[in-house]
Structures are given as C-alpha cells and as structure tokens.
C-alpha cells in the first residue's frame, strides 16, 4: 500500500473513511456493505484497508498530529466518517499509516465474491 | 570511414547488448496515394497495432510586414504502434515504414516482420510503383562518464567512433556536443548512404550518449518485385553491417558485450 493512498486530494479537508462495524455482522458482511455504499466509483482492482481507530490515532499522535475521527453519515453512506485535523503533505505520517494498514488489506474482487 | 570492404563475420556482429535503438525499412511511393487508401491500411493494421496517432504536415506562409502567418494543416497518415511497443508502422500518402524498436530481434525476425507488413499493404492497396526502398539503423552508444580526482574525465570521441569532428584546439575549447552528417553513394549496391552521428541527451544517468545513424536507400533502379526487393534489402543489410563495424573502435564494441 502506497503512502499516497493516505494523502488528501486538493479539494478535501478531511480524510474519508468508513466505520465498518456500523453495518454489523461478520467482518465479511461489513466489508461488502462498505463497498455497496461507497460514494466513489469502486473498481475491481481497488482494495480496502482496515485499521483500528485507536491504532490510527496513536500513529498520528506519534507524528504530533491529534486527529479526531467523527461519524458523519451521508444520505448514501450511513457508515461514512471523517478524520479531522488530518495533516496535508505529511508523507512521513502517510508512510506509517500505509504500513499499518497494509497488515489488513482486502481486494474489492475478494469482497464482492 | 574504415577501408574494410568485406562483410563482418557473424561473431563480429554478435553483441549481447546491441546498441540498436530502432531498425527501419521504408518503401516510398513514386506517386502519392490517396487518404482513402491510407485509411484502408490503417483499418487493416489497427487490430495488431492499437496505439494510433495522426501524422500531419503544415504549410506556413509568412508575411514579414503586417498580417499574422497563414497556417494550413494537412492530414498525411498515421503512426501505429503494437501492444508491446516493439514495432511501429508509419502509413502516409508518400509511403510505408516499418520499424522495430529495441531490443533488436535479429535481421531474420526483423525482415520477416517487415515483409509481412508490406505483404498486407500490397494486398490492401494493390500495386504502387516504388521510388525508394531503404533500410535505416539508429544506434545509440552510451559511454560511461568517469570521475577522477572529483573531476569528469573528458571523453575522446575518437576512442569510440571513427566519425567525429575535428577543429583546432587552440581556437575552440572542447566541444560539448556535435551533429554531423555524411552523405555518399555506394556504387556496389547502388545506394545512397546517409551516415549521421550526434550527441544526444544521455539515456542512462552518468553516461554520454551518441547516436550513430546509418541510412541506406536505393533510389535508382528500384526493384518492384518482392523477390528482387528482398535481395536488395539483404545487400543493403550487409553493407550496413560493414559500415557499422568499420566505424566503431574495439573500445566501443566492448560496451555492447
């Protein structure tokens, strides 16, 4: 997983994530619901990475970034959440987050099958 | 150029890393073909050569006093590249060119690939008198730049190529680049030879790159039958090899091993 996956796009103020447990059920079902309710176009070669919120926040804190992960449901995605105070252009942090996330990555093709 | 007249042996031409960047066979038409024929050829080759870009030529009329330049652009053909970027076909109203990009597969595979393309073209467009057939090999010699005592060791071009510019060192400092073209006629194969050498931006970090371009073309007594064309191309290839080997030093050839 590349650090660039954790970079904010120019138009973004927060990092968009999904609170997968909101969907309930087993992890497999949760991931399927995340894909189903995604507001971006999800392609078969895309992948989802799962990180514990606590570990995510701890990793950010280590790089002097105190983030807040807030549940912000949208009309199409009730599980949508946003990481506030997320830094722009901190590639050292992005690399750490990507490394952390790479421990639990599932391809969309595997999720949908 | 070297005085060698015999063809080099296979072992002399056997390099594990030949410097050929592009090998080209061209067939030029005596009379321009129409764009409808060019389009037919494009459709014929497109399935195997899906990367397509257009070729266009421009005319510019410059009026030094007053009005803006007048520009017109004419569509002349297409450049088609195969999926692996190993071969390119240029189809234009003036002719057809088949190119094989590096790594060079050898004369047999290259010439057979060219023959197949021209066969397909002939079947599509029927007969058109040829005014030129030519073979061109673009070589690039990448010379490592050495550092000694924190300074770049100057590269003596004559240590690698026997075609290089000379000028009085007392008048001009060492050259930072050059371009030379030698044009001559080779009576033994009745072909015009255009030999070009030029420094180019280095393709490999910390190297000096020199292009060594050998272009041989028959413009008189141009064969029209496929068997005769094949025979002339073989002769051109032999002559090209002789020129290539004769113009390079052993130090250059070591770079290709």
């Amino acid at each position: 997983m590349f650090p660039e996956a954790y970079a904010l796009r120019p138009e973004e103020q927060t990092l968009s994530v999904d609170w997968m447990e909101w969907h309930g059920g087993a992890k497999e079902n949760q991931l399927q619901q995340v894909v189903r309710h995604a507001e971006l176009t999800v392609r078969k070669n895309d992948a989802y990475a799962v990180t514990q919120v606590g570990a995510f926040a701890e990793a950010c804190a280590k790089y002097e970034t105190k983030v807040r992960v807030i549940h912000e449901p949208t009309a199409l995605n009730q599980a949508h959440s946003a990481v506030h105070r997320y830094p722009r252009d901190n590639h050292t942090l992005y690399a750490a987050l990507a490394n952390l996330a790479s421990q639990d990555v599932t391809g969309v093709g595997d999720i949908q099958s | 150029m070297g005085a060698r007249m015999d063809s080099p042996t296979e072992s002399e031409l056997s390099f594990s890393r030949p410097p050929i960047v592009e090998a080209v066979v061209e067939r030029r038409f005596a009379t321009s073909i129409g764009m409808d024929v060019v389009e037919s050829l494009r459709r014929q080759f497109e399935p195997g050569y899906p990367a397509i870009s257009q070729l266009a030529e421009m005319s510019v009329t410059v009026n030094p006093i007053g009005a803006q330049p007048q520009v017109s652009h004419n569509m002349t053909g297409y450049r088609l590249t195969d999926r692996n970027a190993s071969a390119v076909i240029l189809i234009s109203t003036n002719g057809i060119v088949f190119s094989r990009l590096a790594p060079y597969p050898g004369w047999r595979e290259f010439s057979e690939g060219a023959a197949a393309v021209f066969q397909t073209a002939r079947e599509t467009m029927k007969y058109s008198t040829l005014s030129r057939i030519g073979v061109r090999y673009i070589n690039r010699i990448d010379i490592p730049v050495r550092i000694a005592d924190a300074k770049v060791v100057p590269i003596q071009l004559e240590d690698y190529l026997l075609i290089y510019p000379t000028f009085p060192a007392s008048v001009l400092p060492p050259a930072q680049g050059y371009t030379m073209q030698c044009i001559t006629f080779l009576p033994n194969i009745e072909c015009r030879a255009t030999i070009g050498v030029a420094t180019v931006p280095p393709a490999v970090p910390h190297h000096l790159s020199i292009v060594f371009d050998i272009d041989l073309g028959r413009e008189v007594q141009v064969p029209q039958r496929e068997d005769e064309i094949s025979e002339v191309l073989d002769m051109i290839r032999s002559e090209k090899n002789r020129i290539f080997v004769s113009c390079l030093t052993d130090k250059a050839k070591e770079l290709f091993q």
Partner: protein, 208 residues
C-alpha cells in the same frame, strides 16, 4: 524551427525553446515567435488544403493504448541495459495498471517525466525485483517494497528527483521517515534505514 504534432496539439521547437499549442492558437503563437526576433523560416507558398485535419477522437481506450505504448517505448530505448525477464515483468505491470475498467475519462494518465525518473533509478541502481508499481492521482509513478514489517516506497518526480518514504515496524513501534532527494543522493539518505535488504535484490549494471 520545426513543428510537429502530438495528438491534437502542435509542438513548435525553436532555438532554445519549445511550446505546445492547440490548433486554434497556432497562428497567433507563430506570429508571436516571429515578432520576438526568432529566426523565421523561409517564406513558402500556401498549399491548397487537401485533407482537413481532424484530430483523432481520443477515446479512453485509445488514450490508454497510447500511454502504454509511450511507457513501453521509453523502456525500449534503454532495453539494452535491462534484464529481459525484468523488462517483461515491467511490461505486464504496465498493462495491469492500465486496464480500461480501472480508469475514468477524466483521470490523469501516467506522467512520462515521472516514468523517466523511475527508469533512471533502475538504470543507476539495477533491476530491482519484487517491486510493486502504482500511479497516483497526479500521474506520478510509484514503486514500493514490503518486507514483512518494513516498507520502502518512492514517488518519482521529474528531473531525477524522488520522494522516498521508509517505515520500520517492530511490535507496536513504528519508525517512519520521508524526504525528497535526487537519485544520486538516494543511497546516502536511505543508508540509516538499511536499504540493503531491498537493493540486495537488484541486479547491478556491471561497473566498467
């Protein structure tokens, strides 16, 4: 002065410069260049237009085919310095990265200057095996390795610059560093993070 076409645009090369313009700006641009004292070409007669130039409709598939070809041609130009097996694998990766289903019409395709920097790194340090390749939203080429808990990744910038990121993870402790360096400086900046583990996989170009 030479004028060539790239897709629907024109590239005007003159003296020390080069400018890319669309068809609508061509006359004006040429006029500007001439009035700035660039050496103009000789006068020429206007030819009768034979075929109206219509830019080829660039569908997503054609754009993808063309960029694949451009990247592979960049590799071909230096293929004499690359291991054939490694080159074949790189070509497969290039194909996989450009599956039409993975791209939208408005997506930025691979930046060729970024790809050139990637190739220069390979030429300078050897054909590194086991790398993963990617393309970011700005078209920059990405390359990365993972070695259990550690990871090294590069984002290739134009003119032989590289953004590097290295992570070493032990138990719950993560150590991460990143920076932007020239290709020449890569070994020096990565040295504290023991890049040998990755570079050991490289087949070095023999020294001369």
């Amino acid at each position: 002065m030479t004028i060539s076409t790239v897709g629907a645009n024109y590239v005007i090369s003159y003296g020390a410069g080069e400018v890319v313009v669309g068809a609508s700006a061509l006359s004006t641009t040429l006029g500007d260049l001439f009035s700035q004292g660039r050496r103009p070409p000789p006068s020429s007669e206007t030819r009768t237009t034979r075929h109206i130039f219509k830019p080829l409709e660039e569908t997503k598939e054609i754009r993808l085919f063309n960029i694949i070809a451009a990247l592979k041609m960049a590799v071909a130009e230096v293929s004499m310095h690359l291991d054939p097996t490694w080159r074949a694998r790189l070509f497969r990766q290039i194909d996989m990265l450009h599956e039409p289903d993975d791209w939208d019409d408005e997506d930025k395709l691979a930046d060729q200057e970024s790809f050139k920097t990637f190739l220069h790194m390979i030429l300078q340090y050897g054909c590194m095996h086991g790398i993963s390749l990617g393309i970011d939203n700005d078209g920059r080429i990405l390359a990365g390795w993972e070695d259990g808990s550690s990871s090294l990744s590069f984002s290739f910038l134009p003119k032989d610059k590289v953004r590097w990121s290295v992570v070493h993870r032990q138990d719950e402790d993560i150590e991460s560093a990143s920076g932007i360096s020239s290709l020449d400086r890569l070994p020096a900046v990565l040295q504290p993070y023991n890049p040998k583990a990755w570079y050991d996989n490289a087949d070095n170009i023999p020294s001369r």
